[in-house]
Structures are given as structure tokens and as C-alpha cells.
Amino acid sequence: MTMDLGPHAAFIVTAYAAAIVIVAGLIVWVIADRRHLARALDELDAQGIARRSQGASKEKP
């Protein structure tokens, strides 16, 4: 299962490594952003701050 990448192996490996770093960076950014925002929403909910839409839905019979 070994792969012979020829005389330009360093360029090929570096290109794939760069792609992995960029894709991993995007995934980490999306996940970290979601966690940060979910925590902020939870804290605001715990303080009893309700959005207008939530308030309106609670007023409905």
C-alpha cells in the first residue's frame, strides 16, 4: 500500500497538508463558533431574556 510520488513528492505532500489544514480550520471555526453562540444563548435564557418571537408565542392562547 505504499505510494511512489516520484521526484516531486515534497510538493504533493505539502499541497495535501495545506488543504487538510485549511479544511480543518474551517471545521474548527464552525464548531467553535456554534459552541460559543449556544453558550451565550443559554446564559441569556438563564437571565430570563426572551426574544420578541418567544414572547409573542407565549402570549398566544
Partner: protein, 242 residues
Amino acid sequence: MPVIDYANPSRFVALADRVLPWLMGATLLAFALGIWSAYLAPDDYQQGATVKIMFIHVPAAWLGTFGWVLMSAAALGTLVWRHPLADVAAKAAAPIGAAFTLMCLVTGSLWGRPMWGTYWVWDARLTSVLVLFIMYLGVIALWRTIEEPARAAKVVAVLTLVGAINIPIIKFSVDWWNTLHQPASVLRLGGSTIHPTILLPLITSLVAFTLLFLTLHLAAMRNEIMRRRVRTMLMMQADARA
């Protein structure tokens, strides 16, 4: 439920929650196939094993331009139809499009050094893609500079539509000018010039990266809706304290 109902951000978030696991699964499956077919792909008769860089460079180039086209469609949604999710879609797409454009530039340079003998030349294709990357950075900076999302959306939409002029320049630069970058070889009149043993892994990789873009974009849109909820709630909290 009519499609127009998904313009409601809460319904959109519920839809995204349902769709994202399936999209993630499809992305992982497509990448497994893409990596396997790239591994099995033979060396090119001229490029040798360096052709394997094309399996990431071509999808990155496609998604860098696709991101701007998506932002341009969203810009029309903001300016013409005032669609509530249009600017959310545009803002979420900008960092993802920028990342893929950066990947295109880096992998292209790493392919260029052994094949052309240089990492960079100021030819029309390379320069127009660099301009695209700088425009992405400008759009991201503009989103961060203007705090009010609705106002930022209009300014960014205008800039995005002006910047869309660069997309046909990128596409046709290799035909309009004498460039070191080769002309189109995947999508061209008369069919692809690539041998099927290399074209198939390339198309699999294109599908995998496109699914990854859509997954990340949907997740980033969901985050942006949450960010606006947090902002609204913080403003209500500030109003209550005042």
C-alpha cells in the same frame, strides 16, 4: 410546507438541524471515494504524480468562484427581494469562499514550482484569482466593520455585485490573454481533454469538496442566525437596564 416558509429563520434552523447530519454523511462518503480513487489514479504522462495536486486544486478553484457566485445571488436577494436569509447566506459564504480560494492559490503554487519552474507568475488567471481572494478579505472586513447587520448587508451586497465582474474574467482569462496557466480542460465545448482514469477521481473529488462547502455553509448560516438572536437579546437586555 411551502418552500417560502423556510424564509423564516426559525424554520430554516429546524430544517438545517434535520439536513446537516445527512449532508455530513454524504460528504464523508464522497471523500472516502475521492481519496480512494485519487490513490488509485495513474500518474499523468507529462505531470507524473504531480497530477494528484489537481484533485484538490481544481475543486478549490471551482469553490472559490462558486462562493462568490453564491454571494452575488444572495446580494440580489438582499437588494431586490429583501429575503430575510439572503444576507445570512452571503455572510456565511464569505470565509468559506476565501478559504477555498486560498487553498486554490497555495496548491496551484505548489504544482507550479515543479511543472512551470516557478511558484508564481503575474499572468491573468493567477492574478484574477488573487484579486478574488483579496475581495473576499474585503467583504469579511466590511461585515466586521459595520455593526448593524441590515446596513452591512446592503453595503456588502453592492460590493459583491461589483466584484462579480471578476468571475467571468477568471473563467475566460486563459482565452482572452496569453497565460502560462493552461486553458479549460474539464468544462469546455467539445468535451473534456482529460483521460477518464484521471477525470473520474477529479469529478469524485469535485463532488466531495462541493458537499463539504454546502455542509459548512449550512452550518455557518445556522451560526449566523444564532449570532443575530444573541445580538437581539443583548440589545433587549440593554434596553431593559436603561
